[in-house]
Symmetry: C2
DNA sequence: GACTGTGAATCTCTTCACAGCA
DNA sequence: TGCTGTGAAGAGATTCACAGTC
């Protein structure tokens, strides 16, 4: 399931906050999904919850980490150390547990030798060598689109079996290799799609029904995973197929703020 | 549909290459999806294909662009101009049509004033002003997690209705606001998950059935969107729910190629 | 003959509702 | 009483197969 990493993050935060047990409701709220999903997902890993109480944070944490294969550090090589590459290198270093970016590789001689975090950029020529040396199984491609397929081929040939592709190209790989694509332009376009549905082609400023617009300030105060970790919301949160999360006001709101003509009556 | 942007890119490439018509098969191959999906997706926008011939590239291009709301430029504000922010700024500028990153904003005084592409980084204080001035409807959050919710609240309060969130936090937004989350750590973990399934917890080098490992070189030659644009493959390509693309060898392979010089090893 | 458009079958994920335990 | 685990119902999305059109 693609939601496991999400739970993992929430649980990590909870554990750091000294929380020992979570209910599916709490976990769901903090992860931005429905309680039913949480229970189904977690039941697929086995029964690690206690009825009437909830889940033990530590146990769940270990269990999910194991399921995600994060128990043993995986070696990652990152090809293309531009801005995106730098950003990812930082991410991999600080946030992601279970990974070690063992090498940064770039075709540009000017970038070779640069130190990013604890790693020094090496020339692409050493790609195969690095992969063999460090038993790399995951490759991240942050090169321009034109170079992506070639890099991909070399990664695969050298033994990499999973690829995270940030280049805007469809990669061809042989059987047994998994590719995951992240396309920043596509992300924007998907948002644009939903924007277009909200505001049909009328360039003028015309909010759907003059409700939740500029006048109102945020509903939720700064209650982000701060001390408690649980985001207390009663709204209906639906995740679309394309990954966009949409919120719909529900009765019994935490606090209706003031004038909320949003859903009409309901009062 | 979340695949429209993909088609859009392929079609753009095709159009640049002077191609006038595409069949669903060709388009599917180039986009890395099944022909059936292409036809279903495109039929949802209306009938723009000609039976026996295919789709007219230009027409389809316009149609999809319209559906995605890319006809009128949308103003985007990007908050947090670190490495990721820089990368995105570049993306938005060169690749994405239909968007204009009208402002870059950062809390760090050292970064304010810096010129990225054609835009100059402004202080966060001017966030609301910028949004009002340029009628911004889409906000991109590239700040650290701790600042994300606060930034989000300000964006929403100022009138932004779609948010692309790169910070590793679940954002709370009021009704009517769409959030799309991209989490780089999660991407890696999802790959790790699939890696773990391939190689159950045995650190030793032991390929599932000694087939498609390092010995074999790339299947596809350098046939990336070069002249033709269509990637000719007969393999079975399945996209998992979590976005990972998995390839399965099918009978009747195009041509197993032999030893591609690129990588020395392969013995 | 080639290729689109689409209803029907299939599959997968989500949601509901409730039985089973602490 | 509170919350997990789960079968069953529901909702989408994908795939199949073929009729319809050029």
């Amino acid at each position: 399931m693609a939601r496991l990493p999400l739970y993992l993050r929430v649980l990590t935060t909870l554990a750091e906050g000294g929380v020992h047990t979570v209910s599916s409701d709490t976990l769901a709220a903090a992860a931005g999904v429905t309680p039913a999903k949480v229970r189904k997902d977690l039941s697929h890993l086995g029964s690690y919850g206690t009825r009437g109480v909830g889940y033990e944070v530590d146990v769940l944490l270990d269990c999910i980490a194991a399921k995600l294969g994060l128990t043993e550090d995986r070696s990652v090589v990152l090809v293309g150390v531009g801005n995106l590459g730098h950003a990812l290198a930082g991410y991999g270093g600080s946030h992601a547990r279970g990974f070690r970016i063992v090498a940064l590789v770039d075709a540009d001689p000017d970038r070779v030798g640069e130190r990013v975090g604890a790693v020094i950029v090496r020339p692409v020529d050493e790609l195969e060598q690095v992969i063999a040396e460090c038993a790399v199984t995951i490759g991240v491609i942050c090169t321009p689109a034109a170079a992506a397929q070639q890099v991909c081929d070399r990664l695969v040939a050298a033994g990499v079996t999973s690829i995270l592709n940030f280049a805007p190209t469809v990669l061809s790989v042989p059987e047994g290799v998994d590719v995951r694509k992240v396309d920043l332009a596509v992300e924007l376009q998907i948002l644009s799609f939903h924007e277009a549905r909200k505001r049909p082609p009328s360039p003028r400023e015309a909010p759907p029904n003059g409700s939740t617009q500029a006048g109102e300030t945020s509903l939720v105060a700064g209650t982000t995973t701060g001390t408690d970790g649980a985001t207390p919301r009663t709204d209906r949160v639906r995740t679309e197929t394309d990954g966009v999360v949409r919120v719909t006001r529900q009765a019994g709101q935490t606090r209706p703020v003031q004038a909320v003509p949003a859903e009409g009556g309901a009062s």
